[in-house]
């Protein structure tokens, strides 16, 4: 009974952290998906400088740890000449996560778009469709079906990656759980956080399952 009381006491504090986790999750998804789509389309354009730029972008953000990127944007960026900006903790987290996940989404979307058969472009062109029209009506709608499973995978990773925000002292869930564990020298805090992460991933997995099901009305 005493134990139950203890759990009731610490849970609200830990879950307060979840609010930020969910916040950064939603913001990242909202901005990184369009960013990834635009960059993926940019990578398919024949204009070489743009492709190199995007290649560099995805390389840097996929090639270095997210943790390092967080440190750099929050602690390092203010000292960089010319582009130096100082973000609030939350803003630094938003910017880093959007750019990082945007890079992964770029590659997922590019691969998805490129998996669509060349014959689809030819058929569209033979019917008089312009390239933008072909992409919007024919290619991207089919690519989405290919993109959703790997996107779902990233979506699950993202909720767990929000825990990294603790390193720039954002009071997200893991940080709060850690504080409780340190104060009381009891692991219950970690278990509560684990259950909360599991609950969130459960919801995300099922949202993606639903989307996949909705897209299964046709087959290639």
């Amino acid at each position: 009974m005493e134990h139950l009381n203890y759990i009731m006491e610490i849970t609200p504090y830990i879950l307060e952290g979840a609010v930020f986790s969910i916040q950064i999750y939603v913001v990242t998804m909202l901005f990184a998906i369009p960013l990834g789509m635009l960059c993926a389309l940019g990578k398919l354009v024949h204009f070489k400088p743009l492709r190199w730029l995007l290649e560099a972008y995805t390389w840097v953000f996929r090639g270095t740890p997210l943790l390092l990127q967080l440190f750099f944007v929050y602690y390092g960026l203010p000292f960089v000449p010319v582009i130096g900006v100082e973000f609030s903790r939350e803003m630094a987290a938003f910017v880093t996560f959007i750019l990082n996940y945007g890079a992964y989404f770029t590659e997922i979307f590019r691969a998805g778009i490129q998996s669509i058969d060349k014959g689809q472009y030819e058929a569209a062109k033979a019917l008089g469709m312009s390239y933008p029209r072909t992409m919007c009506s024919i290619i991207i709608p089919q690519a989405i079906k290919v993109i959703v499973p790997p996107l779902g995978n990233e979506a699950v990773t993202l909720i767990k990656d929000t825990a990294l925000c603790s390193v720039i002292a954002i009071p997200e869930m893991l940080k709060n759980a850690k504080a409780v564990v340190a104060r009381d020298a009891a692991v219950s805090g970690y278990i509560i956080a684990a259950v909360a992460y599991l609950a969130m991933t459960f919801v995300i997995i099922n949202i993606f399952k639903y989307i996949e099901k909705r897209l299964s009305y046709y087959d290639k």
Partner: protein, 254 residues
């Protein structure tokens, strides 16, 4: 006879492989032209140059007097019009592919109305009317809500023909329309093409179906190694071929 497609001195290479070596060809309005020849002879490439799915290196292509690509300079390099202008000119040509290339995420009727509504800016109601008319013509009116993967190969190809016709083209290009089909499904597709022939649609057909070519063509072209070797009536080319190369080819395919 009024000329509608004109090709002059067309050259095309893929890397070091020269697939078209100076093709001269004109197609008249209402004419049914079939192109035969061994694989790798350049017949599909020639057809695909007509609606800009392939870009020629040298030579000219014009549709009804309008150049889409014109030979310029001493070496006759093809200079193309802007993509937008080419799309507009090539709307007069419909194309049917070997692998159908239906849009798998759209139902049969959506496949048919997509281009009329989005490209021609036709009213949806009108596009639906035309689409149903065409589905009736190819005998698939009951399949309008089906998705392409629910259809047999022959049905897919009939839908693909209807889809091309929905743009109301003046010329139809067929790139081996029955080569991907099981033998028992070939007949239904050829039947639809024959029906178009009876309506005097201008058609250029690349095919390996010699009996069909014999029955339907006004003129047959025999290509080999990127050149037009000979051409003439089906009688001259398919029934009483005189050239030994042509005889060898026909003996192999029939």
């Amino acid at each position: 006879m009024e000329e509608i497609i004109r090709i002059q001195q067309l050259y095309k290479s893929f890397g070091t492989l020269e697939v078209l070596k100076g093709i001269d060809l004109s197609v008249n309005k209402g004419e049914i032209l079939t192109i035969i020849g061994p694989s790798g002879s350049g017949k599909s490439t020639l057809l695909r140059c007509m609606n800009h799915l392939e870009k020629a290196d040298r030579g000219s292509i014009s549709i009804d007097g309008q150049y889409i690509g014109k030979a310029e300079g001493k070496d006759g390099k093809t200079v193309y019009r802007s993509n937008k202008e080419i799309l507009t000119i090539c709307r007069r040509l419909g194309m049917v592919f070997q692998n159908f290339n239906l849009f798998p995420h759209k139902s049969v009727i959506e496949n048919l109305i997509e281009a009329p509504v989005k490209v021609k800016k036709m009213e949806k109601e009108e596009a639906l009317l035309i689409a149903r008319e065409l589905l009736k013509k190819v005998g698939l009116l009951d399949k309008e809500k089906a998705y392409p993967n629910q259809l047999s190969g022959g049905q897919k190809q009939r839908v693909a023909i209807a889809r091309a016709l929905a743009m109301q083209p003046e010329i139809m290009l067929f790139d081996e329309p029955t080569s991907a089909l099981d033998p028992e499904l070939i007949g239904e597709v050829l039947q639809v093409i024959k029906q178009l022939a009876e309506e005097h649609m201008t058609m250029v057909i690349v095919t390996h179906e010699m009996n069909f070519a014999r029955d339907i063509s006004d003129r047959v072209i025999f290509m080999e190694k990127g050149e037009i070797v000979t051409q003439g009536s089906p009688e001259e080319i398919l029934i009483n071929p005189r050239l030994p190369r042509l005889q060898t080819f026909l003996n192999k395919v029939v």
